[in-house]
């Protein structure tokens, strides 16, 4: 893949964020309907049907694409909501839909044979065999790869599977096989796969205990902070727990992914699309991150040394890592 061909795929949690992302240089925006058909089903986020139509018009006028995420797993007995989401995305002229559920992939490929299908990261396809299965069974054109693969593994997939590969380059980090994690529903009854949100705010509490603040998800303490420390959001897998007689960030530290420094290597690996996480984040985040990645990709495209861009202030928890792609993360 050459730098000229890569796409920046940017989050749009709201119509305002869509416009911000497009104006900051997004090649594609991704978004979802305002219901549980997508994996960022948070209050105040996402698009109504008229907003989607307007958003697609705005993006297309400026040469940008719109990808509609319908990446939860339909509730048994109620598939209509999900089928209608696919039908409407197709009807409004979305450039692709991003799906994870096999039943939905089957429905979309039969009902809308011309609709471009992208495999969501929620399908957790991380091997040649898995990617080829989705390609052969449903004709997917692109796969979003889980955030658990190393650069050499990504390069091998790009080489061995005739699909466009999309990888996450910035934002929140899932350490579990995505779409195969029920930790949130075990703790608070809210399933990312079914309800479209992990560790959602309505189940979060902050309790002051003397000099410390506990962040809790329903009945469970996820972390404790001293009075001087900022109390982070209690995303379950980024909490501190005790195991084997030791207190630690057992699953993952509260870090964010930032791959600005290794974009040239990802391009060389053959990655087609760079995805920025964060549909739940505000316009300032979208503007800063999209602009930073736009400048970097454009500099690489011109053969120049990319500028040094500091996005530390806007990452969740403040700490950043490229450690999944580089080094011995496992």
């Amino acid at each position: 893949m050459s730098a000229a061909d890569v796409e920046l795929v940017c989050p749009a949690g709201t119509p305002a964020a869509l416009r911000t992302a497009v104006e900051a240089g997004a090649d594609c925006v991704y978004l979802g309907f305002r219901d549980e058909t997508n994996a960022r089903n948070f209050p105040g986020l996402n698009f109504s049907r008229p907003e989607l139509a307007d958003g697609i018009a705005f993006a297309h006028e400026r040469g940008a694409k719109v990808l509609v995420a319908i990446n939860t797993f339909p509730k048994a007995g109620r598939p209509d909501l999900w089928h209608r989401a696919i039908d409407d995305a197709a009807r409004f002229g979305a450039d692709a839909v991003i799906l994870a559920d096999v039943g939905l992939l089957d429905y979309a490929s039969r009902t809308h044979p011309d609709l471009r299908l992208h495999l969501s990261v929620q399908a957790s396809a991380s091997s040649v065999a898995a990617l080829n299965f989705y390609r052969e069974a449903f004709g997917i054109r692109r796969a979003v790869l889980p955030r658990v693969l190393t650069l050499p593994e990504i390069a091998a997939l790009c080489r061995d599977v005739p699909l466009e590969m999309e990888v996450f380059v910035f934002g929140g980090l899932c350490v579990m096989a995505e779409g195969r994690c029920s930790l949130s529903s075990y703790a608070c009854g809210h399933s990312p796969n079914i309800d479209g949100a992990c560790s959602p705010a309505q189940h979060v509490h902050y309790l002051e205990r003397g000099d410390t603040i506990q962040s809790r998800l329903d009945d469970f303490t996820i972390n404790t902070f001293g009075s001087g420390e900022p109390a982070g959001y209690p995303t379950l897998c980024k909490g501190r727990f005790e195991a084997n007689g030791k207190l630690s960030y057992l699953f993952e530290e509260p870090t964010s992914l930032n791959t600005l420094a290794i974009l040239p290597e990802l391009i060389d690996a053959g990655v087609k699309a760079f995805k920025i996480e964060g549909r739940q984040r505000g316009r300032a985040y979208v503007a800063a991150v999209v602009k930073g990645f736009r400048q970097t990709v454009d500099a690489i495209r011109r053969g120049e040394t990319p500028p040094v861009i500091d996005l530390g202030a806007i990452t969740e928890g403040g700490r950043q890592t490229a450690g999944v792609y580089k080094g011995n993360w496992r």
């Binding site: 797993f73 399908a123 091997s127 658990v148 029920s182 009854g189 329903d218 057992l250």
Partner: protein, 315 residues
Amino acid sequence: MNGARPEAALTLGPVLFHWNPERWRDFYFKIADEADIDSVYVGEVVCAKRLPSYEKYIAPVAERLSRAGKEVVLSSLALALSARESAAIAALAEDDASGYPIEINDMFAAARLKGRPHMVGPFVNCYNEGTLAFLARMGAVRVALPAELPAAAIAPLAGAGLAEIEIQAFGRMPLALSARCYHARSRGLSKDGCQYVCAEDPDGMDVETMDGTPFLAVNGIQTMSFRYANLLRELDPLRALGVTRFRLWPQGCDMVAVAALFRAVLNGTLDPEAASAQLADLVPEAEFANGYVHGRAGHAQVTETDGTPFPLSWS
């Protein structure tokens, strides 16, 4: 008392933990000889690195189970990262010489069976009728549903008549898989240099919150519930929905006795409340949960209901 219900079978899921190879073999020999269980799943689901230690016992175990009249199913890996792991899954799926049916636990393996009848394990995301219909077209005859599905989902799937539906009824619930090994990480080791520390916790490694509340359990790359599923009280109402199989996950306790309790409740010879009390005595270290099937948090233990066994509509 269960005359109107379809026949229900008891299934023993594959051992998810890394047991000493001889313990693993002897566990299944005892199940073969003594347990009133209809189907037994055998094979490595969690971590490919463990398999070489007990692979030589799979054939004798399968043979002894089979001779004892039990259906034997060979289970395959849930998460393939390396090409070698994918190849192992494909080889198991494509091998129809063993004579035993296969349980797939990774979606891609469905295509490798080329329509041959097979089972789908609970690590495959079958949440709805669309997916169930696809799996059935690929040859699935039995599907064990993911632990987090409520009765509102189980009812239409069990009623669809597309494949037999199996529900997890006992043992720690599988909640997540990862490319990273948390057992190794808890010891400051990497997955590649793990020294097989997961073998030190034959029922999983307990995980507590900072204020000492038991929460989860770690089993290598897998995260499980701290609490054990116990659906003794829900067996009969689930059968009424069309569920025909109940899965017991092997734990370190006396699984022959556990199976006997579930069988007695299925047969109507023991009251679920009395069986639950006996189960608590059999597994004194366990706390129990049934929240998922009631549409609640998975860790919840629901004992009071509003006159119906569990909600059948989505909240």
